[in-house]
Symmetry: C2
Subunit: 344 residues, 2 copies
DNA sequence: CTGTTAGCGCATTCAT
DNA sequence: ATGAATGCGCTAACAG
């Protein structure tokens, strides 16, 4: 058995309470004894057992990060990594760490109804939860709403939809509309907007809002599926650019943009002369690595991760913020992949 | 306070031992009582508290995944994600989950000497450890070797270097040499090989081994740094292809390859006519998404992740395998980015 | 300032 | 087959 608080106490010639006091800075201790205790801890390389500690405090100092399965998509990889980086940037300083909770399709099948994070919460494996996307939650309304109403420490990434809980949000709809406006002022009147299948629910609103705001602008929506998506995209580009007369494409991630650029090269559609391209980038600078460099709306996902983690830790410490919400601004970084057209 | 085993026992009219027996399938229980217990568990949505359980068993059912800081590199992103996916594919079925342990530079600075995973081990927060790369471990020999000698359940990704512990390995040196041979048989005699700075230590051996095997082949090594790497690579390509007479480039990741392709387009070096490109891909099919599609050695990182997790769980269950080692084969996927030259 | 003690939730041993 | 009792390692309340 590993060394326990008793061993340390014995070697230092004090009681276990004194050792505990030093571990937790919970009371003043005679400096001489404190020194002896520190020596003993050093000697044994003592680290307090988390189970003993947790049994009293019911805190694991872990937070869960939940990824619904539909986001296990190649389109989302930079997004996910940046999110994890942002979270990880905050946690260690508060002595927290991160458990990945990944809803996999197969596993999901074996379970009945509960999303996997619930078990972690009930077993006290985590002290709080970051949901990488709120979309899944809607589908499991009962469970998630119950958590929110109980005031469980919880931050979700996405549009606010409940008075409880906390969220960070990059205003998906807003920057998509900005992309379209940007193209509009450059003279584009028919554009193709690509999105992941799972963002479908937002697109209707975007399209109808833009129809009102800019009646002359025609927006084509392409919902990209995961499988064989290059071929899918190739056909779409050949049609919308080659036949339908679109002059610009909005791409939802740099991953998609890369493939799009290759397709444009393959079809001999020069950028930006024949096709204007505007992308979203989740990691700053990604668009500059492409050739040609791509203008992009930068979504500060890494900051969103840090922000989410910050809020969560505050809530766990009981420092208010139930109901907090932070919206992040996106920033257009121009890199000349958008052409200015003559308007007739 | 949440519901405990006592509540369940009371409602079912049995003792806590009986409830515990059912939880753990540790003994036969009268079916009638068992039914009552199950009903009570349902009723309360009871989940056993991990601290109580852990205090007895000293098991957390978590495994740590450790990323040394030097690998926090944009070059490695697909690699890391695939590794995580592979691990996550295995763990839930055995009721394990994954804690990310990320050595961040800043945090490292604040700590004294210990790598961060050690604390997790000592506090029993994890039952085993997967090291995403062994490179870092060499630098911290004392700590890591001690773990290995103690027989701590541990799998590292990388070349075997100790009789204890377990590892999975993709034979880095071997497939790099195969890349060079591939180019050689196609008539290339002067090639540029790109690598990450942190792989430097392996390159000398590769170069000298190839010098012996294929004296006519000249290999240029470019160690790519993280900062401003596109400009760095652009200059290098302009020089090695434009002036030095290299006819082919080996790229260590698809991330690098993408930028390389853009650079070749920018410099008007057609692929494969002017420049042959051969890459490593860590996710199957990535090379086919580029334009032009890129021939690549596929390294099955996702399988390596699953394999590592499998071995680790076996070791934790005590089912042997101390000292196990699995080598993964890479596979060349041809996509016509390599030109065949006339040899003179 | 410090030692003694109760108790956190559970698995397990020992009686029965 | 089952209940009572023990102890895992620790924190915190209490007594001194």
């Amino acid at each position: 058995m590993a060394v326990s608080i008793h061993d340390v106490a014995k070697r230092a010639g004090v009681s276990i309470s004194t050792v505990s006091r030093i571990l937790n800075n919970s009371a003043n201790v005679n400096e001489k004894k404190a020194e002896a205790v520190r020596e003993a801890m050093e000697y044994y390389h003592y680290e307090p057992n988390q189970f003993g500690r947790g049994l009293v405090k019911q805190k694991s100092n872990m937070i869960g990060v939940y990824f619904p399965s539909q986001y296990d998509s190649i389109f989302e990889s930079t997004y996910n990594l940046e999110l994890l980086k942002g979270i990880e940037r905050v946690l260690p300083y508060q002595n927290y760490s991160m458990v990945l909770i990944n809803e996999t399709a197969e596993y999901e099948h074996r379970r009945q109804v509960q999303p996997r994070y619930l078990e972690f919460i009930q077993q006290k494996k985590i002290d709080g939860l970051i949901m990488s996307a709120a979309g899944d939650a809607f589908m499991r309304g009962e469970v998630f709403s119950k958590l929110l109403e109980e005031g469980y420490p919880l931050v979700y990434i996405g549009k606010r939809f409940h008075q409880n809980g906390m969220n960070v949000y990059a205003q998906f709809e807003k920057y998509h509309m900005q992309m379209l406006r940007e193209l509009y002022v450059r003279g584009h009147r028919r554009v193709l907007m690509i999105e992941g299948e799972y963002h479908k629910i937002y697109m209707d609103h975007i399209v109808s809002a833009m129809r009102t705001e800019l009646p002359e602008l025609e927006v084509r929506i392409l919902l990209l599926e995961n499988i064989d998506f290059r071929r899918h995209l190739l056909k779409a580009v050949a049609y919308y650019i080659g036949e339908d007369g679109c002059t610009a494409v909005c791409s939802p991630t740099i991953e998609t943009t890369r493939v799009l650029l290759g397709i444009c090269a393959q079809l001999s559609y020069p950028i930006p002369e024949r096709v204007s391209v505007i992308s979203v980038e989740h990691r700053q600078g990604d668009g500059a690595l492409e050739y040609p460099a791509v203008s992009a709306f930068f979504v500060p996902v890494i900051d969103m991760g840090s922000g989410a983690a910050d809020m969560l830790l505050q809530a766990i410490r009981g420092e208010k913020t139930e109901g907090d919400s932070v919206e992040y601004e996106t920033k257009l970084i121009e890199r000349n992949s958008v052409n200015s057209l003559q308007t007739v």
